[in-house]
Amino acid sequence: MTTHPATERSGGRGGRSARNPVGRAGYVFVSGYVLLLLAFGVLPTGYAVWLALSNSRNQLVGMGNFTRTFADYRFGPAFLHIGLYLVVWLASLMILVVLLALMLHGRMRRTSTSLRFLFYLPGALAGVASVLLFLILLDPAASPVGWLLKSFGWNTLAQVNAPGHLPVLFTIIAFWTGAGGWIVVMYGALNSIPDEILEAARIDGANTLQIALRIQIPMITKWIAYMLILAFAAGTQLFVEPQLVSLASWGMIPDSWSPNQLSYQYAFQAGDFNGAAALSVDLLVLGLACAALVVFRTGLFDRDKG
C-alpha cells in the first residue's frame, strides 16, 4: 500500500535496523525535548491526575470526584453541547480544509500564496483581540454581514445568540480563525508529493478528482489523521469561542456552556481544583480514545508510510 517509490521497504525492518543501529544518537537528539516534556508535560499531567483522584486534604478519594462532577446539573448539558458542536465542527473542518488545500495546490504560485495569506489572516486574530470584532459582527444592526443575519430572520444580538444557534456559531468562529493554519499545513503536505507521481497519473489519463482521491489524499493520510486527532481534542476542549461571544454579548452565553468552561468554573470560582481536574481527565480520556482509534487505523506511529 506504500505509494512512495523511494520508500519501498527495500531493506525490510531487519535491514534498516542493521544499517541504523539502535544507538545513542536518537537519545541525544530527543534529550532537550524530553527534559521539557518531563517538566512541562508529564509532571503537570501527573499532578492533575493525582488531583482528580484526591481531595483538598490530599486524601485519595477514588472515583469520588468523577461521580461528583458527573452528578452536577451542568455536566449533561455541557457534554451535550460539545457533542453537537463536534459533529458540526469536525465535518466542516475535515472536508473544507482538505478541499481548499487541494484547490489551492497546483495553481499559479502567486495566486495560491496570496490566497493562503488571506485565508490565514483571521488566525492572527485568535486571542482577546477579537472580542471587539464579534461585538459588532454579531449585532445585525451594525454588522458588516448584517444583511446575512437579517436574511435568517435574526434582527438583534440576542436572536443571533439564541441557544440553538451556538454550536454552529462557534463552529463558524473556530473555522474562521483556525482553518487557515490547517490549510497551510495541508498545502505543505501536498507540496511534498513529488511532481513526477502526479505527472505520471495524468499521463495515465487520471482526471483531477481521481488524482485527488487516489493519490493526493492517501499520501497525506498521516497529516489528515493528525489534524483529526487535534481537531477532536480541540473540539472537546472548546473554551475560547464561548468566552469571546459571552464577553461580546454581555453574558448571554452560560458560563459553563462547554465542559472545559465548567472545569474552569470549578477551579477558579468554587476553588475546587480536584473537581476541575476530574473534568479535565474526562476530556483527556475522550481525546485519547479518538487518538487511539485514529493512530491504530492510520498507522500514525509507523514510519515509511505516506
Binding site: L60, P140, N155, L157, A158, P254, A270, G299
Partner: protein, 454 residues
C-alpha cells in the same frame, strides 16, 4: 493496511496502556477520604490576627486602569510610602481574575496584593471566606469606625459578613428614573412617581408616539433595576451561605407582569442599551429609563450622545400599595486590604484615601459611596452642565433607598439573568413564563457553590 504495524509493538503499546489504566483504576478504588470539596468555613475567626508587621515596607496595589491614576496621585502626595502598582482587569465585566490569582497564592502561601480594587460588587463573598480569608476585616482596628460610618447607609452591605466588614465601597450605582426632559415636555407628559403611573404612561406612549421607549429588559442588570426595586426575594441572605430565592413571591410577579405588558405593547425593549443596534436605532427614542446613576454620563452622554440639557433624573418609583419607595443597585467597586499584609497601616491609609478623599472621589467617574465625597462629586457634576436639572437631590435620596433584602452572592445575578432570562425573552416567552426556569437557574448555581437555598 494495518498489517504494516508490527504486531509486537502494538502489543507492547496495549500492554502499557492496560498497565497504566490498571494502576489508575487501582488508585481509583483505593478511596480513603470524602470527595466533598472543603466545606466552606461558616464562621470566620472571631478576632483578626495580623501577620508580623514590617513598618514602612513596600505595599503592592492591584487596581484597574481607571483607578491607577488615583493611586499614582496618592503616591505623589505621599512620597515616603513605598508603592508597587499593578494594573489588572479589575474583575470588570464578570471576570474573576482577582479570585483566580488569590486561589493560586493561597496554594503557594505568598504573592497576595496588600490592596486590591475590584469592580465586581460580589467579590466580598469569597474574599471573606475560607480558612484565612483574603480580605482583612477592616472594622477590626484597620480602618477607624468613624470613617466606616461616613459611607452611605447600606453601602457597606456587600462587604459585611458575620458582623465584620471585609471591604470598603468605592462607588454606588443606585438606580434612579432617568428621563428625557425635553421629550417629556414636548409630549406633554409628567414624570411618574409610582410604577402604576409608569405603566400607564408606557401604554399611553405606544398609542400617541409609537416607537418611544420607557425601559429595557434585555440588560444583564435588568433584574437589579426592576426586581430589586420591586423588593423581589431573588437573593436574600438568611445566614452565612444561606440564601432565600422565591421568584413566585407576589413582589416578583407584580414586576414580571408589569414588564410583560409593556414588552408586549412595545414600549419596553428586549435589547440591551449597549448593543450597537440599540445605540444606532433606539437611543434617541428613550423617553424614560430606570437605571443606575452612572447611566447619566456613561450611557446618555458618552454612548447615546444625547445633547446637553435634555436628560434628568427622578426619584425611584414605588408601588401604590407600598409605604416607601425602594431601589436597586447595579455594581459598584470595592477596595480590599489583604489579611496577609505586612504593612496594614500603609494599606489601610491608601484604601481610605482612595475611597473617601475629596481629592480623588470628588472627580471620579462614578458616584462616591462616601457621603462627604459625594457632595463634592455632585457639585462637580452640576458644573458640567450636562443634565437638564440638578441630579443631586435625587442621587442623594436614592443612595439611601437601596432595598436591603437583596444580598451580594458569590455567583452573579447578572450572569444568570443574561444567560437564562434574556434568551427566553427573545424566543418569545414572557417574564412570567420564565420565572420558574430562572428560579431553578439561581438555585442550582447557588447550590453548586455550597449555598443552602430555601
Amino acid at each position: 493496511m494495518n498489517n504494516d504495524v508490527p504486531v509486537s509493538s502494538r502489543r507492547q503499546l496495549r500492554h502499557a496502556a492496560v498497565a497504566v489504566l490498571g494502576a489508575v483504576s487501582l488508585l481509583g478504588l483505593a478511596a480513603c477520604g470524602s470527595a466533598d470539596p472543603t466545606p466552606a468555613a461558616t464562621s470566620s475567626p472571631a478576632a483578626f490576627k495580623p501577620v508580623a508587621q514590617e513598618k514602612g515596607s513596600e505595599i503592592t496595589v492591584w487596581a484597574d486602569a481607571t483607578r491607577v491614576p488615583g493611586v499614582q496621585a496618592y503616591q505623589k502626595t505621599h512620597p515616603d510610602v513605598k508603592l508597587k502598582i499593578v494594573t489588572y482587569s479589575g474583575d470588570a465585566n464578570g471576570a474573576n481574575d482577582l479570585q483566580t490569582k488569590v486561589q493560586l497564592f493561597d496554594r503557594t502561601g505568598s504573592g497576595w496584593p496588600d490592596v486590591a480594587f475590584s469592580a465586581n460588587v460580589n467579590d466580598g463573598t469569597w474574599a471573606s471566606q475560607g480558612k484565612t480569608p483574603y480580605a482583612a476585616p477592616v472594622n477590626q482596628d484597620v480602618i477607624p469606625q468613624s470613617t466606616l460610618k461616613g459611607f452611605a447607609d447600606g453601602a457597606l452591605n456587600p462587604c459585611t459578613f458575620n458582623g465584620n466588614t471585609y471591604c470598603v465601597r468605592n462607588d454606588l450605582a443606585q438606580n434612579v428614573l432617568w428621563y428625557n426632559k425635553k421629550l417629556m415636555d414636548d409630549f406633554g407628559y409628567s414624570v411618574p412617581t409610582t410604577w402604576e403611573e409608569y405603566q400607564a404612561l408606557g401604554e399611553k406612549v405606544v398609542k400617541e408616539h409609537p416607537g418611544y421607549l420607557v425601559g429595557t429588559a434585555g440588560d444583564a442588570w435588568s433584574a437589579e433595576v426592576y426586581f430589586w426595586a420591586s423588593q423581589c426575594p431573588a437573593s436574600t441572605a438568611t445566614g452565612a451561605r444561606k440564601v432565600k430565592v422565591d421568584l413566585r413571591d407576589s413582589k416578583c410577579t407584580r414586576m414580571a407582569k408589569l414588564l410583560d405588558s409593556l414588552i408586549a405593547k412595545g414600549s419596553v425593549s428586549k435589547d440591551t442599551v449597549f448593543s450597537a443596534g440599540f445605540v444606532k436605532n433606539e437611543a434617541s427614542k428613550v423617553l424614560m429609563l430606570p437605571g443606575p446613576s452612572w447611566f447619566g454620563q456613561v450611557l446618555f452622554n458618552s454612548t447615546f450622545k444625547i445633547p446637553k440639557g435634555q436628560i434628568a433624573a427622578a426619584s425611584p418609583l414605588k408601588f401604590e400599595g407600598d409605604t416607601k419607595n425602594y431601589t436597586g443597585n447595579v455594581g459598584g467597586g470595592l477596595w480590599f486590604v489583604s489579611s496577609h499584609s505586612k504593612n496594614l497601616k500603609a494599606a489601610s491609609d491608601l484604601v481610605t484615601w482612595m475611597a473617601t478623599s475629596d481629592a480623588y472621589q470628588g472627580t471620579a467617574g462614578t458616584y462616591p459611596a462616601y457621603k462627604k465625597a459625594a457632595v463634592t462629586w455632585l457639585a462637580n457634576q452640576k458644573k458640567t452642565g450636562y443634565f437638564a436639572e440638578d441630579v443631586s437631590p435625587v442621587f442623594m435620596e436614592s443612595a439611601e433607598l437601596i432595598w436591603p433584602g437583596w444580598s451580594a452572592t458569590q455567583y452573579s445575578q447578572e450572569a444568570i439573568y443574561s444567560s437564562t432570562v434574556i434568551p427566553a425573552l427573545n424566543s418569545g416567552k414572557t417574564l412570567t413564563d420564565t420565572l420558574d426556569t430562572w428560579q431553578t437557574a439561581i438555585t442550582d448555581k447557588a447550590k453548586s457553590l455550597g449555598y443552602t437555598v430555601n
